[in-house]
């Protein structure tokens, strides 16, 4: 991998990434956004969080054994811990350790 390629490839990602983040600020900063935009603003966060959970698990093949059971179990453990204790650190840390044990030991 030449350093020239590496430089331009990373620069491309920097630009693409920043474009996606700056987009609404370029288009809606002068005039207040239309009603439908405000509706998205208010209601999209819970939807995108749900999508991101499933997206982050999308490399799992649910057609072969154990049919994603380990992932579903680990998500449940994380969720139960979070409902019970409400502590981010406990939920994420314990959930991840639990999953690592599942995939490495079980």
């Amino acid at each position: 991998m030449s350093s020239e390629y590496l430089f331009f490839a990373i620069a491309t990602m920097v630009i693409a990434n920043y474009l996606t983040r700056v987009f609404p600020f370029l288009f809606f900063i002068k005039h207040s956004p239309p009603k439908f935009v405000l509706f998205i603003e208010n209601n999209f966060p819970p939807i995108i969080m749900t999508i991101l959970i499933i997206y982050s698990l999308s490399s799992i093949d649910f057609k072969v054994a154990p049919y994603g059971a380990k992932e579903i179990l680990a998500v449940m453990v994380t969720a139960i811990l979070h409902f019970k204790f409400g502590n981010y650190l406990v939920s994420i840390f314990a959930g991840t350790i639990f999953y690592m044990l599942l995939v490495q030991v079980v």
């Binding site: 935009v37 999209f44 959970i53 499933i54 994420i92 959930g95």
Partner: protein, 226 residues
């Protein structure tokens, strides 16, 4: 000019992200070095790209020597969800400092903290937002650095470590639920992403799920009224 009260508030709020970013950043640094990248390339990426999913994807894209156009399109697609994030922050970001940086630093988690957790009114918001953004990126860069160093020296079984990303989103979703007390958006998001998963290849799933749920949102807009 340093504002300890704002810094302390930001530090407290950012603790969960610290955990997630140190671990995931560590995983990224480790993965990058073990994939043959120089340690400093991993750190540079965390400094100037600063996007978890994209950086993990980048390891694959660069190793395959993908063309610039492919990289550009793939990057936009992976991050297109972020182009909705700013919408929720237009008002909050009206009077801030280092705005180009704050926009640059709008990762999933920083966005979630900014939209989910209500800061006390007595805080100087512009400093609080800046500290929160800088702190979050510093965790990501620190994690990457530690992971890269670790990857150069030791080897251990990291299988399953990437679940920390999922766990983070689970936690953030539950926080959203506590706020809105309405199960419908979650149901909609789940259905849209499962459809995306079934209908299109994995690399397009995120975009398709987002578009589907946007359309569905307007069809079922009454379900969102409280």
């Amino acid at each position: 000019m340093f504002h300890p009260r704002e810094f302390k508030a930001a530090l407290k709020v950012s603790v969960p992200v610290m955990m997630g970013y140190l671990v995931l950043g560590f995983a990224f640094g480790l993965l990058a070095v073990s994939s043959g990248f120089k340690w400093y390339i991993a750190i540079i990426m965390s400094l100037i790209i600063y996007a978890g999913a994209l950086q993990f994807l980048a390891i694959g894209l660069l190793s395959l020597k993908s063309g610039y156009l492919d990289i550009f399109i793939a990057s936009i697609m992976v991050n297109i969800r972020q182009s909705f994030y700013g919408l929720s922050l237009l008002k909050k970001f009206k009077k801030v400092i280092f705005k180009p940086y704050l926009i640059f630093a709008l990762t999933d988690e920083t966005y979630a903290l900014l939209t989910t957790i209500k800061e006390p009114d007595s805080l100087k918001k512009k400093w609080y937002y800046l500290y929160l953004s800088v702190l979050n990126q510093s965790y990501w860069v620190t994690g990457t650095t530690l992971g890269a160093i670790f990857g150069l020296s030791v080897s251990f079984n990291t299988k399953g470590l990437d679940f920390s990303l999922t766990a983070l989103f689970v936690v953030l979703a539950i926080e959203q639920y506590k706020k809105i007390k309405n199960y419908f958006p979650f149901l909609l998001g789940a259905v849209a992403s499962l459809l995306g998963l079934v209908l299109v290849p994995r690399e397009n799933m995120l975009l398709v799920s987002i578009l589907l749920s946007l359309v569905a949102m307007f069809i079922f807009s009454k379900k969102f009224e409280k």
